[in-house]
């Protein structure tokens, strides 16, 4: 595994004070560390431990074994012929939905949890929106014998009661967060508060490729297997590289993971599909790169949804996993440099693609991943029948059956319509 192909450029932007160290973890003008000083030394320790672990075959070998034997990685590459016929271009699906716990997120949490063990810490905390990262964290904690506390906005604990039960079955404590808007961003705030107070005993398993350095780089490197496997698999399957790679983007961990495998292939266009909610023009969306402005949230500089005074705005999406007002700083940079293209997909477009994938392939996708499918359907129209589009099917839709059934009118208030 190569750690540093995408290493952030650590150029000092300073010049005013000679003895200030070069700021860490920048991707162009994005990224960095906007965190209380109390957490800076712990972040330095984490970074050092991570770098050391990744050059230790004992660590990387154990992580590879866990991924293979426990998490069902590498996930298959699937030639989706009926979907392709419908779309009018060849569509390949990277089946991250077949991983243990049903999404790409297991890769990141197993990496971070194994690193936690190596650092001698006994307790992990995590934030979760819909509950997927919380479930993955609770799973890794059970597997590696760690205490686990998951912070979840009170609104989300009500919307996703089954995932709360899942985490509890796995032995985690779920703390409903009642501050602010009582959603994912507030769960992150509360997890940071816990971490400041308990950092000596506790690791923060951050759920996406955002947050302060080293999280964006570390989460990318724990998920980059998606892209590396895909590149190999697509070459084997088709004899050439895909023309486009499509992924959904909330915080952006599945997207950065698959992009990482193709970043040096200039002919492969990278597309990130953001949650357009009711439509970007409605103001009710989570399309941070499309419609946000540069700012600082949760430790990093990136695009975010904010008002004139820099107060964070609430995001909206039918997909809880994309419902976040920020985005990982590397995505902001890839957009800024033009290496990747980010577009919004509305709730309706995503649900239409969800339906198409169910009916053509017998795969119920996570609503997050349905955004990537919807984006690929549009790309197919633009690119034509000779194009090959690789889509990261980042998660399965079991968790979304209730939401989708209400959306399609199959259930009304939880009862048969």
């Amino acid at each position: 595994m190569t750690l540093h192909d995408l290493a952030p450029a650590d150029a000092s932007t300073d010049g005013t004070t000679v003895d200030i160290p070069a700021a860490l973890g920048h991707f162009g003008k994005f990224g960095g560390r906007f965190m209380p000083e109390a957490l800076i030394a712990p972040l330095d320790e984490l970074e050092a431990a991570w770098h050391e672990a990744m050059t230790d075959p004992a660590f990387t070998g154990e992580l590879d074994r866990m991924l293979r034997e426990y998490a069902n990685v590498p996930s298959p590459m699937y030639d989706a012929t009926r979907l392709s016929a419908r779309a009018g271009a060849r569509i390949l699906l990277k089946r991250e939905d077949l991983n243990h716990t049903g999404a790409h997120k297991i890769r990141n949490v197993l990496g971070q949890a194994l690193l936690t063990k190596r650092m001698g810490k006994k307790r992990v905390i995590a934030e979760t929106g819909a509950g997927q990262h919380g479930v993955a964290s609770a799973t890794a904690a059970a597997y590696l014998d760690l205490d686990c506390v998951v912070y979840m906005g009170e609104v989300d604990t009500e919307r996703q009661a089954l995932n709360v039960a899942r985490m509890q079955m796995l032995g985690a404590e779920v703390v409903p967060v009642t501050s602010g808007s009582r959603t994912l961003k507030d769960a992150i705030n509360e997890a940071i508060r816990d971490w400041v107070a308990n950092v000596e005993s506790t690791a923060y398993l951050f759920g996406t490729a955002a947050g302060p350095h080293p999280f964006p780089s570390m989460v990318r490197d724990f998920t980059r297997g998606i892209g590396e496997e895909s590149r190999r698999q697509v070459l084997e399957m088709t004899g050439r590289l895909p023309d486009a790679v499509a992924a959904c983007v909330g915080g952006g961990s599945n997207a950065i993971g698959i992009f990482a495998g193709f970043i040096d292939d200039a002919d492969v266009t990278l597309y990130g599909f953001e949650a357009g909610g009711d439509g970007v023009e409605s103001g009710r969306h989570a399309a941070t790169i499309t419609a946000g402005a540069i700012g600082v949230l949760h430790g990093t500089r990136s695009f975010l949804l904010q008002d004139e005074d820099g107060q964070t705005l609430e995001s909206h999406s039918i997909s809880a996993g994309l419902d976040y007002p920020g985005v990982g700083p590397e995505h902001a940079h890839l957009s800024d440099t033009g290496r990747a293209v980010y577009r919004p997909v509305t709730d309706d477009e995503a649900m239409s693609a969800f339906d198409v994938l169910c009916k053509t392939e017998g795969i119920i996708p996570a609503i997050e991943s349905a955004h990537a499918i919807a984006g690929a359907l549009k790309l197919a129209e633009e690119m034509g029948p000779d194009a090959t589009i690789l889509v990261n099917l980042s998660g399965r839709g079991d968790k979304d059956v209730a939401t989708a059934a209400e959306y399609f009118g199959l259930l009304k208030d939880g009862k048969p319509a």
């Binding site: 070069a22 209380p36 000083e37 501050s179 507030d186 705030n189 400041v196 004139e308 005074d309």
Partner: protein, 267 residues
């Protein structure tokens, strides 16, 4: 030398620790926060910290979150913060703003500094901005003669303490516990150690915050710190009084006087 540095130097000459009081602007209302600050200063607060209410205050405990949330819900804007700073500075107490970084960046760093200086503010406390990321703020602070008050923590390494104090002016803010803001039953036993580590690398005054809620604790902290910072306990006085602001003002005045007596007998 800033008004803040001058005042802290005078107090140091008197061998008396400064009392610093915190309140978010706009709590309980914009006009009300100016009155609470007047009551604080009248009760004995030497230096005022005006908080800029922010949607995602990761360093703050429940009391400050509640006060800032109330201020935001009532529509408090950044421009209101400057009005509160102006009212505070008029009392004669050196006044600084404590703010998370994003609102400053959004407002425009130099523009923020200009407005703060025009309002009579002395500087900025930045809980989530470390000197490593502060190049633009350093330029603006120098251009407008504002103090840069950075935080240090028990977890800070010696080299970070040295670097951060070199980047700071006015005073350095020592967070005495590993944790968020809020009154605590006992003050931290890690604070004296942190302050003595700071003494080895700087002559800058050291303010100690997080957890002080009464005169006895203020005396305890004032024995080794140059400034004792109190926030949540003062806010609690206003929160507990509900809609009865006059009762809240009385309680703030009384607590400020108790805290002042504490710092007076600290040494």
């Amino acid at each position: 030398m800033s008004v803040l540095s001058e005042r802290l130097a005078e107090l140091r000459a008197e061998n008396r620790p400064a009392l610093v009081g915190y309140l978010p602007a706009g709590f309980p209302t914009v006009e009300g926060s100016a009155r609470v600050i007047e009551a604080m200063v009248d009760g004995g607060v030497d230096v005022v910290e005006v908080g800029l209410p922010y949607s995602d205050p990761v360093m703050d405990g429940p009391v400050i979150q509640a006060a800032a949330g109330q201020a935001l819900a009532a529509g408090t804007r950044i421009t209101d913060v400057f009005d509160v700073v102006a009212a505070s500075a008029k009392t004669g107490a050196p006044t600084v703003v404590m703010t998370y970084w994003n609102p400053v960046e959004r407002f425009g760093v130099d523009r923020f500094a200009q407005h703060l200086a025009d309002a009579g503010g002395s500087g900025l406390i930045t809980p989530d901005l470390i000197p490593d990321e502060a190049a633009e703020w350093t330029t603006a602070a120098k251009a407008h003669d504002l103090d840069q008050i950075f935080l240090v923590a028990p977890s800070s390494t010696d080299s970070r303490l040295a670097m951060t104090t070199r980047a700071s002016s006015g005073f350095v803010y020592a967070t005495s516990v590993m944790g968020v803001t809020g009154a605590r039953g006992q003050t931290s036993n890690r604070a004296p150690e942190l302050v003595s580590r700071l003494r080895e690398v700087t002559d800058l005054p050291v303010g100690v915050g997080l957890g002080v809620s009464n005169g006895d604790q203020a005396a305890e902290v004032g024995a080794f710190a140059d400034a004792v910072i109190v926030g949540s306990a003062l806010i609690r006085c206003v929160l507990d009084a509900g809609d009865d602001l006059d009762r809240g003002l009385e309680a703030v005045h009384e607590l400020a006087a108790d805290l002042r007596a504490g710092v007076e007998r600290a040494r």
